[in-house]
Symmetry: C2
Subunit: 477 residues, 2 copies
Amino acid sequence: MSKPFVVVGGDAAGLSAASKCKREEPDREVIVYEKSQWISFAHCGMPYYVKGEIDRLEEMLSLSPEEVAERGITLERHHEVVDVDPNEQVVTVRSDGETFEQPYGDLLIATGARARTAPVGGAEYESVYTMHSMDTAAEVRARVMSPDATTVEDNAFDGGYASVDVGDALAREPPKTVAIVGGGYVGIEMAEAFRAHDFETHLYQRSDTLVPPFGAAVSEQVKETLEANGVTVHLNTTVESLEGESDVEAVVTADGRQSVDLVLLGIGIEPNTELVAETAIEYGESGAIAIDEYGRSSLPKVYAAGDCAEKHHTVTGEPEWVPLGLTANRAGRAIGQTVAGEPEKVGKIAGTAVLKAFELECGRTGIVDHEKAIAAGFDPVSETITAGSRSGYYPGAAETTVTLVADRQSGRLLGGTIVGEDRAAVRINQVATALEAGLTVSEFEQLDLGYAPPFSPVWDPTLVAAKVLRGQLATDE
Amino acid sequence: MSKPFVVVGGDAAGLSAASKCKREEPDREVIVYEKSQWISFAHCGMPYYVKGEIDRLEEMLSLSPEEVAERGITLERHHEVVDVDPNEQVVTVRSDGETFEQPYGDLLIATGARARTAPVGGAEYESVYTMHSMDTAAEVRARVMSPDATTVEDNAFDGGYASVDVGDALAREPPKTVAIVGGGYVGIEMAEAFRAHDFETHLYQRSDTLVPPFGAAVSEQVKETLEANGVTVHLNTTVESLEGESDVEAVVTADGRQSVDLVLLGIGIEPNTELVAETAIEYGESGAIAIDEYGRSSLPKVYAAGDCAEKHHTVTGEPEWVPLGLTANRAGRAIGQTVAGEPEKVGKIAGTAVLKAFELECGRTGIVDHEKAIAAGFDPVSETITAGSRSGYYPGAAETTVTLVADRQSGRLLGGTIVGEDRAAVRINQVATALEAGLTVSEFEQLDLGYAPPFSPVWDPTLVAAKVLRGQLATDE
């Protein structure tokens, strides 16, 4: 009998791996250690919970501890793995002030990532939040509700969770003015959430671009949409510090001091790799754990998956750190199958992402940034077009802006972005599919895509972009 | 100087070809003959015009005669080409009772298709319509409006068109009961149009499947949706004849006689190939004109494109007749470039199509029918799954049903369908892209597609289908 498959971290990657391994090899002991009480929760749902679009915290849990137990997995919550000894194949686990050793046959590091707070000074004040745990989501939700609201009191759970006490947060008056530091995914989504509660909302972004991975064309429209929805957007504005007594009271920038009652930091996340810091494990340039195509780290029998690990990029083949949900789930599942004896590759990442910014739908995939393309050895050329989302005569058509990036020499498609209000986001999937297949711009232009007036013009906006980009490539010949 | 490029037919394929040729070779004489007054109109918009979602007939014209003239194209409307002499490279043109001969250097047959009326007996009665011309669309729109409606009086046009007189049709009381014969695209779309006017609507379909190219899973949901919207659907019911005096009065089936005031025939279209019937031109098995990859017919210097011609299928490589808008436009454009001296392939067809059935969005691509797959030399296997369109906790998620078909031996994806109420239709494009690239089910399953709660669950429904289908393929190994 093999020694147990031990998983550190009970979220997407960890539980996907545990579940798959147990299904494929039912006699194998599978143990999951999770340091908090929460498992398998939807990070991506939190802004919508704060917004009020999702009623109960519990809805964001996709798997309960009891369901995990029913799968035959040993799930130990409030158990923190504090040391890995790859020579002895043993982890040290701490719980309730005690520690013990647990041998493993295979080990998966799925410790995820955490929200950054540095380098913003004053992040330790009260009423300064990051959006990266269930407890914080519950607290922020309570803070944004009026003290007489009843919905957030309902934080008791079925399935083995302790209820979350948000009484203190709920008792406070909601903020009048809030600041969001950072214009990435979380910042944009939280702006929508705060405006739904009618707070005066300031969003600060250090650079001149919102959601930088989506490029300039999307940034521009996201900015317009935020402003149209009452968000004050401060581009090129570094938050120098937060000020206050015990509670935060102001945001300080080169432009001056803005009084605020609550601050949301959305300045990025970083991989949780402390656990293996003392080992000889190899990291990638990103600082996340380096893995091979099966998710194996440089240590024998030690795998890594999810937001703490790198993955290989669809277009460049090079390792990259792109912490997103689908690839975490997929990698976990593949590793579960591999440790059960049937090796399965963890798959690549194209960095495909979609984002809702109020009514705007945004998508991106592959390599969008020219500098990144050059660094990867390509000679990038791109075109941005705007076309209707439906036949012009059909009501509801919305302008849809598409950017496609290709390599000038080979004509190969490298990446793309899309933005618009009518079914724009899911259209990025056809570009992502083309990247996986290595299609050239000419091949993409020849795609037979669906056309009907309610859904698309004769030439889908992505085909229009391909046509214009191919013209550009042909001119260069 | 080359002899003129002559185009027969002033719709999508014809005008795309003429425009492209003129742009690439401005000195070349380009002549387009169109037998009606209408050019470049949106067939696909007609049901929505009858429904009332589009206000004016004119909105469905994408290019006016004056705009065509501005491009330097000689456009002759009310000119019917009645003969082709491929040896002399001359066409015979009839206009206003006179005929004349026009020599050509290159000739494009873009005569389109026409709505079938046979084998339904009684199709010659009044108030029996097919939906395949601007004049009929105008008349049916007038018929469905109350006599005191004013919107349809507005059928005068800018850009060189004679107005359409629908006074007689408008003067009549709208029908109370209508019958649609045929449950294909037009039948489904017209059912939505008629129900918008609150008519009692009967839809007759000979087989047990609605929109057969979309397969059984889509048919089932379309039927439910039609019925939920008040359409009486008669499957497995052949309309034996129509009865009446001068006006149609009843539909006769094996089940009996249904009184009706108006009948819409949507029993398919057939290619207009009479013009070349006397020549040695080759036809495909479909009865449409056979072409090579550049759109060349078997006659020298004679091209064919659009609904009168076949095209090669993306998956099988075999010629097929799939009359749809995008491929007609694309083929015309390619032929225009080819005759201008820079050969361009017309592209393939995957038969990708999207359809709105009330609030239901349907899509299909590639080979869905197992018999067709077997005939093409494949060993088909398919799976149908239903999954949410968004994260379960996010409001607005709709059940989305996906069918994927693959070849058992190679694992290659052959086709797919999708149906659901939330952004389902455009998702067929990611499957169509995979077909063009020849991806296997395993490769498709590895796609990095976009995930965010408002737009998609972690696993896009098409990925769920791929996962299940791959499981099926693996079991067979």
